[in-house]
């Protein structure tokens, strides 16, 4: 199993930390992982993205341009990465702020209204975990117990009291994701 993922959105949406929690969960499940951020001036107030690879085998390039899954959290990222999903791959997007929806016919498309739901429930801080939950519902590449360990390792100990809230958000995401187009 090798899953190559791009997570992309605005800086501040928790894109990098979502990737880190996913990657750390993979480490805890003894998978090979890589987490490659786009770094540089574009991170400051602009778009942020990270490529995460989780695999049973040695990972060749952490730098990739074709993805099994794209998790998209704003219009700029949708414009940039829709074409980079492998045919037959998966695109998940949050409709918040999306004015032109994805148009590819050869990929699976799902949407998750995580921004709206997180605001409604007053859990905007764990918005990214809602999105992660949606992804894990479709591709359960790491087991629940390892997600817990991944959270423990990614968060400083003083924030461990927030782990249950994060896990709850993941469960909310699992129920929130809806199909737009399934091949």
């Amino acid at each position: 199993m090798t899953e190559e993922i791009i997570i992309a959105g605005f800086g501040g949406q928790g894109v990098l930390s979502m990737g880190k929690i996913l990657a750390y969960s993979g480490v805890m499940q003894d998978k090979e992982v890589s987490w490659m951020p786009s770094y540089g001036p574009e991170m400051r107030g602009g778009t942020a993205n990270v490529s995460v690879i989780i695999s049973d085998e040695r990972i060749s390039s952490p730098i990739i341009n074709q993805f099994d899954t794209a998790i998209i959290l704003n219009q700029q990222s949708l414009d940039k990465f829709e074409a980079s999903v492998k045919p037959g791959g998966l695109l998940i997007f949050d409709p918040n702020g999306i004015t032109h929806e994805p148009t590819r016919k050869d990929i699976n498309i799902y949407k998750i209204a995580a921004t709206a739901k997180a605001q409604e429930l007053g859990i905007s801080k764990v918005f990214n975990m809602v999105v992660l939950g949606g992804f894990l519902k479709l591709k359960p590449i790491v087991d629940k117990q390892y997600i817990h360990e991944g959270l423990e390792h990614s968060l400083p100990q003083r924030h461990w009291n927030l782990i249950p809230q994060n896990e709850e958000a993941i469960e909310i995401g699992k129920g929130l994701i809806e199909c737009v187009q399934q091949l």
């Binding site: 880190k20 990657a23 750390y24 480490v27 090979e32 992982v33 890589s34 987490w35 490659m36 951020p37 770094y39 540089g40 001036p41 990972i59 060749s60 390039s61 952490p62 730098i63 990739i64 341009n65 074709q66 390792h153």
Partner: protein, 360 residues
């Protein structure tokens, strides 16, 4: 700290390995994309645990000269920077090599020339292995291609540095520095005790006992005849490194019709390109350089003797390719592919270059 499984950035791995390998001191100045090295050291506060000194100097010129001063006493002293900062250190590096002072320098390369960009590049190959500073000297140069190697090579660097009394350079780039991967940490090696230091660095300026003459650390020798003897001694040392300390990795080279030669992050991209080529039925192998000096000349020549073409992949205008051509005596069709200025080539681009420049 015992052996643990962690997820961390390459830069953080360098810092943690410095602490775990019993490094006595680190002097540095912040620069992207390697700032996490000093950030991690400052956050870990090793001065409270191992007693390691960590100091932000006023510049890279100051850092490298602090390394000279500290390491002259036989202590394990390190610095790190990125390309423009490493350029500032070149005078210090040639003095360190000339005074035969073991030390560790880490270069997390970014795009140049000048201040260039802050994104990954590999355009400091010439600077690293063909001098950089003046005079006939070499840095033992390791090119890590993973976060694990960023960590492990710090330990290896200290072994080599003290075995040969020579500065060691870890030549990485922004991609490996910023990427997070799985890492197994090692048991901590204690910093040397005073007795161990005197035993392992008998040449050091740690005070003069009555039973020997003064230890003098200098790169100055006004008598040409004696300087030539010293130069010959250095050359002998470099020849021994070439004989005994070459490191490389081959993947699928046994039946390969074509090989890609690369190091560091480019070798990871090349590995993916190799896999894509194999899926298309093209027999491609990967020859990954681990030491850039000493260059695996003999070993590459042996592999190259059986192939129809070589693609050199490096994020530069083509520097490493010169040593590849020397190793193969230009006996095989050899081309360069690279991107500049912080653009990282994709595996697809590498495969395309292989097909267009070599196979066609």
């Amino acid at each position: 700290m015992a052996r643990e499984l962690k997820l961390m950035k390459g830069n953080e791995a360098i810092a943690r390995a410095m602490i775990a390998s019993g490094t006595d001191g680190y002097f540095g100045y912040p620069i992207t994309p390697q700032s996490e090295v000093m950030e991690t050291l400052m956050a870990e506060k090793p001065w409270e645990t191992t007693g390691m000194t960590v100091l932000q100097a006023e510049s890279e010129v100051a850092s490298i000269n602090m390394v000279y001063g500290g390491a002259a006493t036989g202590k394990k002293v390190a610095t790190s920077s990125s390309s423009p900062g490493i350029s500032l250190m070149q005078e210090g590096l040639t003095y360190l090599a000339g005074a035969e002072i073991p030390c560790l320098i880490v270069n997390v390369m970014r795009g140049g020339p000048g201040l260039g960009t802050i994104q990954p590049s590999q355009s400091d190959y010439f600077q690293s292995v063909k001098g950089g500073g003046h005079g006939d000297y070499q840095l033992y140069t390791l090119a890590p291609a993973s976060v694990q190697e960023m960590y492990d090579f710090v330990f290896d660097a200290w072994d080599i540095a003290f075995k040969y009394r020579n500065p060691v350079l870890i030549l990485s780039d922004g991609a490996i520095g910023q990427c997070m991967e799985k890492l197994y940490t090692r048991d901590n090696v204690a910093r040397w005790t005073e007795e161990e230091r005197r035993k392992n660095a008998p040449w050091g300026t740690w005070g003069k006992p009555k039973d020997r003459a003064h230890n003098i650390i200098t790169s100055l020798e006004l008598d040409s005849a004696r300087q030539e003897v010293f130069n010959l001694k250095l050359q002998k040392k470099y020849a021994e490194m070439k004989e005994n300390e070459v490191r490389y990795e081959t993947l699928n080279c046994e039946d390969a019709d074509y090989i890609i030669v690369a190091y560091g992050s480019s070798s990871r991209i090349a590995m993916k390109a190799m896999q894509m080529a194999r899926e298309k039925g093209i027999k491609v192998g990967l020859f990954r350089l681990i030491t850039l000096f000493p260059f695996p000349t003999k070993q590459l020549a042996e592999v190259a003797a059986h192939v129809k073409g070589i693609l050199c992949v490096e994020m530069s205008a083509g520097q490493m390719i010169e040593d590849v051509k020397l190793a193969t005596k230009c006996g095989v069709k050899t081309e360069h592919f690279g991107r500049f200025g912080g653009i990282i080539p994709t595996p697809g681009e590498v495969l395309e270059a292989l097909e267009n420049k070599i196979i066609k």
